[in-house]
Symmetry: C2
Subunit: 268 residues, 2 copies
């Protein structure tokens, strides 16, 4: 199964321009990927001034952006994963979808909102989910979800071979933390970030780029820089992710000791 | 609260010599620590040939090694955490203890045994636990426990400010993974490793040293090299570890979404 990641610097609010840039990149790459992954909020930008502005840029799941992405998926005969600002009646979510020629394959709403995102979005209310693409089981989480080990753990438990991780990272830790996420679950992790600066509404945010694919053994198979448009392509072997027996004596899931784990914060 | 870590290269089976070296180091350091931490299996070495050999070097919790460590704790007026081979009637555990002048403060048995340890030891059967030392709440896990996110998570949920982590690391990932463990739980983590090579019973193991203290914000506050005897000392501020509100909008525990987490592997 071949996965390709596209990193760029969306211009805030310039949806048509952003979509044109991504379209040119994907259709021109010749990557022959089974799955393309794009960043979180890939077509709108991230740093909304307020909820009204977020609403004005948000779309229903199968809105105009979805329509455009689906056309790319048809042209490339592949699946495409991406993050977008979702409007569902009056409620906004920081969402992701995986689309192919058949339509929507997966629809996720970010469970753990980061910082000011709470001013615009509601926290997700859809189950974590795993779907099969070209023989590889793929689950999605978005950006700050990385900080909560239960997210990647849940996707691993659901059988994910590959964690698809659209992001807009502003803190430095995630690229190395995803090595831990890969090792603890023996899964591939593809984090697709953006780069560039958004200086709006008194908030200057610098996105760190560094999109990457990590192997189940914790190797960084490919990565992009801190400030570059570009794409990388990696071949994923689902059999490697399914081998949870990591040496002759240790199985990452069977060796768990749930009777001794504490489920949540204990007061006092 | 001041924590000190001692890293060295125990000689396999030379318990008296190893204890003498540690004694000289701790009593000579002038570290003025509230808690000293020593490696896993600190007085015996690690690479047992078989279960009989492990049994011959194992001791009851409050055995001769405990007695010696307690004397150091009395001399230094501090607590001391260490790993040891425990014999309980006919059963062996890869255990840890924290001892001070009052006696045994904490007794832990490694929950997740690594590789050939399974040939000698039974997996732990005691609860994870947190105790207070000089105002800081301390919990223990041992070496390979790091690979299972539930271990550090549980100690965080129990209120640990500092995770005390005696280790004998042979794989390269743990020092960076502990940054993730610190960040996801907003706790200090002190990993105390050994260095050196044990080439026995057809198994050549090289231990990676790199003992370290990580802050709740993911900073490596101090670290030792890959092949050196030495000690480091770090001041811990429990208030920093208790501030789970990591920015104006995110609280690491309250933002969890347990309704959406999957508890264990799902078949099919």
């Amino acid at each position: 199964m071949r996965v390709a990641l596209y990193q760029y610097a969306p211009r805030f609010g310039e949806v048509a321009r952003n979509l044109d840039q991504v379209e040119a990149a994907l259709l021109g790459a010749g990557a022959d990927a089974d799955l393309w992954i794009l960043p979180e909020l890939f077509s709108t930008g991230y740093n909304f001034a307020d909820r009204d502005e977020a609403r004005s840029l948000a779309e229903e799941v199968e809105g105009e952006t979805w329509d455009r992405v689906r056309k790319w998926a048809q042209r490339l005969d592949c699946a495409i994963a991406y993050g977008f600002a979702e409007r569902d009646r009056d409620v906004l979510y920081n969402s992701g979808a995986i689309v192919d020629r058949s339509g929507t394959r997966l629809h996720y709403r970010k469970l753990h909102l980061f910082d000011r995102e709470r001013l615009f979005f509601e926290a997700g209310n859809r189950k974590l989910e795993v779907i099969e693409i070209a023989g590889a089981r793929c689950g999605m989480m978005i950006c700050f979800d990385w900080r909560f080990p239960e997210t990647a753990r849940s996707l691993g438990f659901l059988g994910a071979d590959l964690i698809v991780h659209p992001s807009n990272l502003v803190l430095p830790w995630c690229p190395d933390a995803m090595i831990t996420r890969a090792l603890e679950n023996n899964v591939y992790v593809a984090t697709v970030d953006r780069w560039g600066i958004e200086d709006r509404a008194g908030q200057k945010l610098r996105f760190i780029g560094r999109s990457q694919v990590i192997s189940p053994a914790g190797a960084r198979l490919a990565a992009l820089g801190e400030a570059e448009d570009g794409w990388i392509v990696v071949d994923i072997d689902p059999a490697v992710a399914r081998q949870k027996q990591v040496n002759s004596n240790n199985h990452l899931y069977r060796d768990r000791r749930p009777d001794f784990y504490v489920d949540g914060p204990v007061d006092g």
